[in-house]
């Protein structure tokens, strides 16, 4: 029995699996149910300062290789989020990462400041959603000076909460963006957000299926890209990383940790393997560790021989 416990920015996770932002995660009850399904930690669906409407349906489609979504970050705003976070905190079975979103720099700063006094462990700033581009333009995570600026400003108002940035894979050089965030004082990263956006056309109707027409791609097909980008950011910054993107099995989780991730985000795999995918992945990681003489999972972080 290997030690699967991982420390990440001051919080202790009983295993490295974390619910990725945007997959289920609307209510405190769901967070608890995901922890009961084996997750080591929870990331909330992105929280906005004010109510934000998502896109119309269809919002999610899948094939065996990928999932494509344009849910569009629907959220009821701060008051609802406060209630859910306080409700979760009554029992708090695992660390809570609060994902926050905004349309403008000011909105990010405002919501980050409000999170300071709530019982959350880590603040994740989602500056990389490809599904609200129509509304707000190119995400901050695609422009190095914008990424640096938002980190600097958020760090000023977020008190002692560790701040991580959710990075976009839709950039020419992710190292450059990661370094800019590091200069801004970021404490860690979560990557990658969804790829694209992509387009899926129904050939009978000759129309896109998603109501937003285009959507971010996740799922097994994007895993090699996630592993590569995690490794790039790990090498460039040495800051602790939540590696996510197509992680479906214990082997996938081990792989992205070897690339440099400390925690492993799981999202689309809830569809591929059910809500208890967290327990399955943790068990598979444990089996692999036992077979390979790994006593403590933390030993494998960043150990890929390149």
């Amino acid at each position: 029995m290997a030690n699967l416990t991982v420390k990440y920015l001051g919080a202790e996770f009983k295993n490295p699996t974390v619910l990725a932002s945007g997959i289920t995660g609307v209510t405190a009850a769901t967070w608890r149910s995901v922890v009961n399904s084996g997750a080591g930690g929870i990331t909330t669906k992105s929280i906005w300062l004010n109510e934000h409407k998502g896109h119309k349906n269809p919002t999610i489609i899948t094939t065996e290789h990928w999932m494509m979504n344009a849910v569009g970050l629907p959220d009821a705003g701060l008051e609802k989020a406060k209630q859910e976070i306080e409700d979760y905190n009554k029992t708090k079975p695992a660390p809570l990462i609060a994902s926050v979103a905004g349309g403008t720099m000011d909105e990010f700063i405002a919501i980050a400041e409000k999170m300071k006094d709530l019982p959350i462990d880590i603040l994740e700033i989602n500056i990389s959603c490809p599904n609200v581009e129509g509304e707000f333009g190119l995400p901050f995570a695609c422009v190095a000076p914008d990424a640096k600026k938002v980190v600097e400003e958020v760090k000023k108002v977020s008190g002692d909460k560790p701040v991580i940035v959710k990075l976009s894979p839709n950039v020419t050089d992710i190292k450059q963006i990661a370094n800019a965030c590091a200069e801004g004082g970021v404490d860690g990263f979560c990557l990658i957000n969804t790829l694209g956006p992509g387009l899926f056309i129904n050939i009978e109707t000759r129309t896109p299926v998603l109501a937003n027409k285009v959507g971010g791609i996740s799922g097994p097909a994007i895993k090699p890209l996630a592993v590569k980008m995690v490794h790039d950011v790990y090498k460039a910054t040495k800051l602790p990383i939540i590696g996510t993107g197509g992680i479906t099995t214990g082997r996938d989780a081990i792989e992205i940790m070897m690339a440099g991730a400390t925690l492993v985000g799981i999202g689309s795999a809830v569809y591929y393997r059910g809500l208890d995918v967290f327990r399955k992945v943790a068990n598979e990681m444990n089996e692999w560790c036992d077979k390979n003489g790994v006593k403590d999972l933390s030993e494998i972080i960043g150990t890929v021989k390149m």
């Binding site: 209510t27 009850a29 109510e51 999610i60 609802k80 129904n202 109707t205 809830v270």
Partner: protein
């Protein structure tokens, strides 16, 4: 890994029937492989995609019954025979019963639609079906002649204005019936407060009660998190829509509130 796909397939509307005021049924030639109580996601390109319970499935055809009550359902009800729509599914849980059971079905409004499918299937399995149908007025009743003609099915009607059947609430007829007859299982679909009352009456009588719950849904396959119920975080699309009253008794929001597209609580009007 299992070969999984959630993409709509395009089907032509073969037939449309006008069943009641504002309610139409759309028929398709397609093998859906659904079970009574399950739903599909119906896509109207450029408009929306919404969950709809299957209202009959014969193996090579199936039907969806739709009540005009919003942008998407209004647009669907404006379609004509030969028009095309998209379908994903079937999804969710089904009504469970055994051969020869005595079943009581309680349907309110367009909630009668999935129970119609159930009545067909249960009737074939030699169940005795007592179908309790509630509506505001006679013109809102669904499938009355069809159900009356069905073997092993007895229809009981209550309307708020007394224009057909008993005047008043269906629960009075229902409660009296289960006291006086041997009933194995109760199944209900309709307005949430009606179903809550049916569940309470069934529980009190010690009869297993299965309830078809409606919640706001996006994906239909357990990922978007919109249809979860407090305080257990159960996803209605995969653990429901049909749930046992014993499960719903643990879900404190049942009969109190549901969540909207942004996840905010919306309370039912008592």
């Amino acid at each position: 890994m299992e070969n999984k796909t959630e993409l709509p397939i395009i089907l032509e509307i073969k037939k449309i029937s006008n069943d009641a005021e504002g309610i139409k049924t759309f028929y398709f030639d397609h093998t859906l492989n659904s079970k009574p109580g399950q739903f599909v996601m119906l896509w109207l390109p450029g408009v929306d995609e919404i969950p709809i319970s299957v209202s009959v499935d014969t193996g090579d055809t199936f039907a969806l019954t739709i009540f005009s009550r919003g942008e998407a359902s209004d647009a669907i009800c404006g379609l004509k025979e030969g028009d095309k729509i998209g379908i994903r599914g079937p999804y969710g849980t089904m009504f469970n019963y055994s051969e020869g059971d005595n079943l009581v079905l309680v349907g309110g409004g367009y909630g009668a639609a999935p129970l119609r499918y159930l009545a067909y299937e249960a009737s074939k399995k030699n169940c005795q079906v007592d179908f309790m149908m509630a509506a505001k007025t006679k013109t809102k009743l669904l499938f009355v002649n069809e159900l009356r003609a069905m073997k092993n099915v007895t229809l009981h009607i209550a309307t708020s204005d007394g224009s057909e059947g008993v005047k008043g609430h269906i629960n009075e007829t229902f409660e009296k019936f289960i006291k006086e007859n041997k009933v194995d299982k109760i199944m209900t679909c309709g307005p949430e407060l009606l179903m809550k009352a049916v569940g309470e009456i069934g529980d009190k009588a010690g009869i297993q009660t299965q309830i078809s719950v409606e919640r706001y849904m996006k994906c239909g396959f357990g990922v978007c998190g919109q249809c979860v119920m407090d305080p257990l975080g159960i996803r209605t699309c995969v653990s429901g829509p049909v749930m046992n009253s014993k499960v719903l008794n643990m879900l404190e929001e049942f009969g109190k509130y549901h969540r909207d597209a942004e996840g905010k609580k919306q309370y039912f009007n008592n």
